[in-house]
Structures are given as C-alpha cells and as structure tokens.
C-alpha cells in the first residue's frame, strides 16, 4: 500500500530522502487529481510543483503518516484559490483502441465519436462526482482509498459515484 504506511510510530518531520520518496510515490496521483478537477494538464503540473515546494517549506512539521492527506489538502487549496471555475475540456489520451483493428473506418469513427462525447460528458459533470468517478476508474482506487484521499466518508464516495454513473448514463443515452 502506501509507501509510508506501516510505520509503528508516527514520525514528525521529513528529510530530503523522505521528500524524494514522497514525490516519487504521490506525484502522479496528485497530478491526476488536479487534472480531474481542472481538465488542464499544465495547471495540474504547476499545482503539483507548488504543492511539493510547500511541503518542503514546512517539512519539519509534516507528519509522515498523514503526509499523503496533507498533499491533497494543499493541492486542493492551491487550486481552489488560484483558478476560477472555467469551462473544461479533457484531452485524455486514449490507448485501449491502439491494440485493436477496427472492422471498418466507419466503425472506427463511430468509436472515436463516442470517445469524444464521453470526454465532453465528463467535462460537464459536477466536479465532486467526476473526481471520485475518475479516481475509481482510471487510478483504480477503492472507495475506501478515495474517501481517505479526499477526507470524506465512504458513504459520500458511494453517493458521488452513483451520481456520476447516472449522469454518464443519462447524457450518453441522450446522444446515442
């Protein structure tokens, strides 16, 4: 599981090595998290940079066993304070279809169109539901893990997930 979990004692303060390990372990999921919220890879990377910089500044008071949650808190605050809500446009790279040959060019176009619509639907979804939905589907996190990351209850995760699924279903059905 978490690289830093499993310690018996709660340690306060991280050193350079610990900082590097923190980065190595959580840089990607943090970037994903802000991407799910912003739909902008550059913003996501800027926030990741600033988040880790901030953690470095306050390294002496960072508790090892809550460091991961702290990263999410800082990233979330940075994002919320800095960026006004704007119209999102996702540009997920689609890889699954590269391993297949399409029956026909028309069919390939149809799938790509479905994919485009899906990305638009995701962009239109309520932010809280979207974050939970994508953490579960793309990062394969369990509801339990998501709840911990976002500091919400498992019940809340389930609720948001249900909303997300309904939304996707509704919107896609309307379009196809």
């Amino acid at each position: 599981m978490g690289l830093l979990s499993g310690k018996i004692f709660s340690i306060t303060g991280i050193d350079q090595k610990g900082f590097e390990r923190l980065f190595e372990a959580y840089c990607d999921e943090l970037q994903h998290y802000i991407y799910y919220r912003s739909g902008d890879a550059e913003i996501a990377e800027d926030i990741v940079q600033d988040t880790f910089l901030k953690v470095w500044e306050i390294r002496d008071s960072v508790k090892v066993d809550t460091a991961r949650a702290l990263l999410y808190t800082i990233a979330s605050n940075l994002y919320a304070n800095r960026f006004k809500r704007q119209k999102l446009r996702f540009k997920f790279e689609q890889t699954i279809l590269e391993d297949r040959t399409f029956e026909s060019p028309e069919f390939e176009l149809e799938v790509k169109e479905f994919d485009n619509k899906l990305q638009q639907v995701l962009a239109g979804m309520n932010e809280k539901s979207r974050v939970v939905f994508l953490m579960s589907r793309i990062d394969q996190m369990t509801y339990n893990e998501i709840a911990k990351r976002l500091d919400i209850s498992v019940k809340a995760v389930e609720k948001r997930m249900k909303k997300a699924l309904e939304y996707v279903h509704d919107k896609i059905e309307q379009r196809f």
Binding site: E20, F23, C27, D28, Q31, H32, Y35, A41, E42, A44, E45, D46, V48, Q49, D50, F52, L53, K54, W56, E57, I58, S61, V62, L70, T73, I74, N77, L78, N81, R82, K91, F92, E93, Q94, T95, I96, L97, D99, R100, T101, F102, E103, S104, F107, E110, V111, F114, D115, L118, L134, R137, I138, L165, V168, H169, I172, E173, F176
Partner: protein, 300 residues
C-alpha cells in the same frame, strides 16, 4: 515489420461486438484506456522543484486584495482546519528557472517561445501576467527563440531587449551586457539610448555607450547553445569566469591581468579547455580535488 502483418496480430474490433455492450460497459471500456496527459516527465518536474527549492523560492500569499467577507470567512475556516501545517494560503505566480553552474537548461515559455539558459543564469517571469504581457527578467546569459506575436521583452539589470519574434542571445553579468541577433530585429535599450540590430549584428555596452558591430557565427546561433565557446579579443579573466560557470569549478589565476584571448573551446572536458586557453597564453594549470584550478604563468 510489415504494417499489415502487425495489424493481423491485433484482435479485430467489430461493430456488432461494440453494439452489444451497454452504455455503462462502453464507457468502462473507453475509460480503461484513458491516460492523463502529461506535459513533462516526472524527473523534469522534480528537477524544477529542486531548483525552486535551491532558489529559496517560497509559496506565499500575495494576492487577495479584493476579498469579500464570504471568502475571508471561508479562508479562515481553511486555515483553522489545516493550521498546524499551513499558514499561508498562497498565491505566488512567480516562475523562476535557474541553470546552475555546470549545467544548461532548456525551457519553454507559456507562449511556446524557447529559451536556452546558460550556466549560472536565471530567468523569472510572472505566470499570470505573461499571457497579456510577454516580459521576463534575465540575469546571466540565455538564447531566445521567440514565437511571433506581441512584443517580447527581456529585462536585465543594465538594459532592456525588445523583439517581436526572432532568435537572439543576451548576456548580462555584472557590468557586461551584450546582445546578438540571429534572425528578425532586436531593439536594445539602456536608459535613453536605443539601438536596433539585425541578423549578424551585435550590440555591446562599453563605457556607458551601446556600440553596434557585426559578428560571425559559423553555426548561425550562439555557440554556447551547442557547446562551443568562441571568444574574440575578450579579457582573459572573463574567459576563466566562463570556464568556472561551465564546469562548476573554482579558478584562482595569477598573471592574467590586462590580457586578452581570441580562440574557441567546447565544453566537453575541463583539462582540454584549460589546455586550449593556457597553451597560447603561456600559462600552466593544475587541478585539485577535481574542482579547484590554479593558473599561473609558466616558469621560465
């Protein structure tokens, strides 16, 4: 490999199979192939963070002049929530990119313009203002390839360089300031003096005057960007300064005052470079601990 063969090994994806799937299943299938786009490699991100730490950059609260009460209350709540760790709720949009001694850094600005930053040099700009106002600060040396568009301004401690879209090199260290133009047109100003240079021309700040002259550069761009250093009658002391920056070494030299060097070297090996410079100047050198260099006149 033949493309058709490769395709034959891949499973066929048919419309009938796809149509059999429910909306939820189609969604799952497509989402399972999603990758979050990344603009840069993880190692690069870490490198930037490391540099920003080295720079002593701090994430601080600078904005928020127009807080309304609601937001003030909200941020107090946030601060209270995370008080142990987290006092400043933040907005620093200052970007600093630094090439330390012994390194060059390549960097792309938000407008797509590219910069090569020479050793021991730094650029900084405001990320939130750069969109409206292409302006940055430079200390040290950098080579710019500017995307066409609104005026692009480089400010240094001595002067200002303005262009529309072009490639040019700026060197600004202590009292030395020179700019060379490779393509397009570059306007250089110090105080009230302004000089415009075109490709193949350079301008040097000497004794309080901007002097224009021509330069030749075989490669069509600043040599240092490809690891070649050419010097045309430059004080020897400046040459050793450059070697210190390129190799991150400390050089103490005697007998080099008021002497000038013309020649070139590439930044591959320290001892070769020292050889290239010392031999014609009748100097000798020794290297201690890998990073301390002593240079003195050759014993007669």
């Amino acid at each position: 490999m033949d493309i058709r063969n490769e395709n034959m090994n891949k499973p066929k994806f048919s419309k009938t199979d796809f149509d059999k799937l429910s909306v939820g299943e189609k969604t799952n299938l497509l989402i399972s192939g999603y990758h979050v786009p990344q603009k840069q490699a993880k190692a690069t991100t870490f490198e930037i963070i490391r540099q920003r730490i080295e720079q002593g950059e701090q994430i601080q609260e600078t904005a928020k002049r127009h807080l309304n009460i609601y937001w003030a209350a909200a941020s107090i709540a946030v601060i209270a929530l995370a008080a142990t760790f987290y006092f400043n709720v933040i907005i620093s949009q200052a970007k600093v990119v630094f090439a330390e001694r012994g390194r060059h850094v390549e960097y792309t600005l938000p407008d797509g313009s590219e910069i090569k930053i020479n050793s021991d040099s730094k650029i900084s700009y405001s990320a939130n203002k750069f969109g409206q106002n292409r302006e940055l600060n430079l200390s040290g040396e950098a080579y710019f390839s500017v995307k066409k568009g609104a005026p692009f301004v480089v400010k240094t401690s001595i002067g200002k360089v303005e262009v529309l879209g072009t490639t040019f090199n700026v060197f600004s260290r202590e009292k030395d300031f020179h700019v060379s133009c490779n393509t397009g047109k570059v306007r250089v100003s110090v105080g009230a003096q302004t000089v415009t240079i075109e490709p193949g021309e350079k301008v040097v700040w000497v004794d309080g005057v901007l002097k224009k002259s021509s330069f030749t550069d075989e490669d069509g761009k600043a040599g240092w960007t490809i690891g070649k250093f050419r010097f045309d009658n430059i004080p020897l002391i400046s040459i050793f300064d450059e070697i210190e920056r390129q190799f991150n070494v400390k050089i103490s030299a005697t007998g080099i005052e008021n002497r000038y060097f013309t020649g070139s070297f590439s930044n591959t090996k320290l001892n070769e470079v020292l050889e290239t410079v010392c031999l014609p100047m009748n100097l000798e050198y020794d290297i201690k601990d890998g990073n301390k260099v002593n240079v003195k006149p050759k014993d007669k």
